[in-house]
Amino acid sequence: MREEQRTALEHFLAARAGANEVRIHEARLLSGGAIQENWSLSATVTGGRHEGVLECVLRSDAPSAVAVSHSRAQEFALLQVAFRAGVTVPEPLWLGDASVFGRDFFVMRKAKGTASGYRLVKEPGLGGDREALTERLGEELARLHAIRPPVDGLSFLRTPTLPPALQCVKDSREFLDGHRAAFPALEWGLRWLEQHAPATPALVLTHRDFRTGNYMVDETGLTAVLDWEFAAWSDPLEDLGWFCARCWRFGQFDKEAGGIGSREALFRGYERVSGRRPEREAVSYWEVLAHVRWAVIALQQGERHVSGQEPSLELALTAHVVPELELEVLRMTGGRHA
């Protein structure tokens, strides 16, 4: 972080916190985040209601971003709505613009622990009791899904004109039509999704990237659900399908809920808070959709490298997860020929 950015940020934080002075003594760029840039800030606040040490995270746009993701201002509004609904998210503090930091950003309270999916599946001590953690994540989703449109502050969220499943089919096809190469196996999946699309009786607020790797845990359990940039009005089962999808189990395929626990625990937690028991078969439709949607996102990320816009080994390798996603799509939709 450049010196003038730090100084501008100190003044910004002091004004918003109603403090006499804010001094940032540590600013560290956090790893991860192909779309955003996250800074861990440790600051001393003198005066005002945040008096003392303030541990927070500044989240700003990365140099280039995927077109479908929300702006920082929108993500801030989503965090506020989720926070008020009792979802465990980092408390959103203040929204700032490019005049302060050079790019739009917001500041949220720092959550403890780690979000690393690979660490989570390797270190059994992380996250406390795993079945309890899985159940808790089901409860979190149910709390989020209690939010129904319209909501003040979320008017930027598109209300789908089609049932959400068919909307995803349409959006994916539009992307594929504009892409350099065709992907027949994804088309196969999209055709199946079109033919089996469920009706969605009521739209709810969904996270749409609710998976292992996007929530933080410490030794005792969940500390925060992160990464709200894909949130939208959709079918509640979309989040459950995304969480259970085989591609998000980090190699722990027998732990069907996010590679960390049982599907039963997730559904139990969900039912306790929502009063609705997710049906396994209905969720499996959304697991197929999860693989197709992740493949499309992976193509978009790979394209950022291929186009020369943002050379990155991580983005380049993301394009290479597409074939295995397609294979799983074929298997799930009866396209297997061994």
Binding site: P184, A185, E187, L317, H320, E326, G335, R336, H337, A338
Partner: protein, 127 residues
């Protein structure tokens, strides 16, 4: 004539040095980058090893299925469009072609993923 060892052999030995000698010495936050480098080298090596053979086989299988000629890219575009129109709903031959070409791409991009599928697919994995 090119020198020996060729590109494949160089990638194999370079990857081994990276994994066995360098990786253990790297700080934790750089290990991931090294693993990505090893992964990328592996993909490049498998593509070189396979050459253009699998691409030609895929092209031939598609031409037979679709009853038309064209480049691999054109045939894939045509196949995709016809799947979308529903021309291949419940078509066992189309599914077979799709499965085979996808397995072949997984062999190059992520061969370990094949182990979970058919034994016949996994048998051809180059490790």
């Amino acid at each position: 004539m090119r020198e020996c060892p060729d590109g494949i052999a160089l990638l194999v030995i370079a990857r081994e040095v990276l994994r066995k000698e360098l990786l253990p010495l790297l700080p934790g936050d750089k290990a991931y980058a090294a693993l990505m480098v090893a992964n990328a080298m592996g993909i490049a090596e498998r593509q070189l090893r396979n050459g253009e053979g699998p691409q030609r086989e895929e092209q031939q299988a598609l031409a037979d299925l679709l009853g038309t000629e064209g480049t691999l890219a054109e045939l894939n575009r045509e196949f995709a469009a016809r799947i979308r129109r529903g021309d291949f709903d419940n078509d066992a031959e189309a599914r077979r072609v799709l499965w085979e070409s996808t397995v072949q791409r997984v062999r190059e991009s992520a061969p370990k993923a094949l182990a979970a599928y058919s034994p016949s697919a996994a048998r051809h994995v180059l490790v």
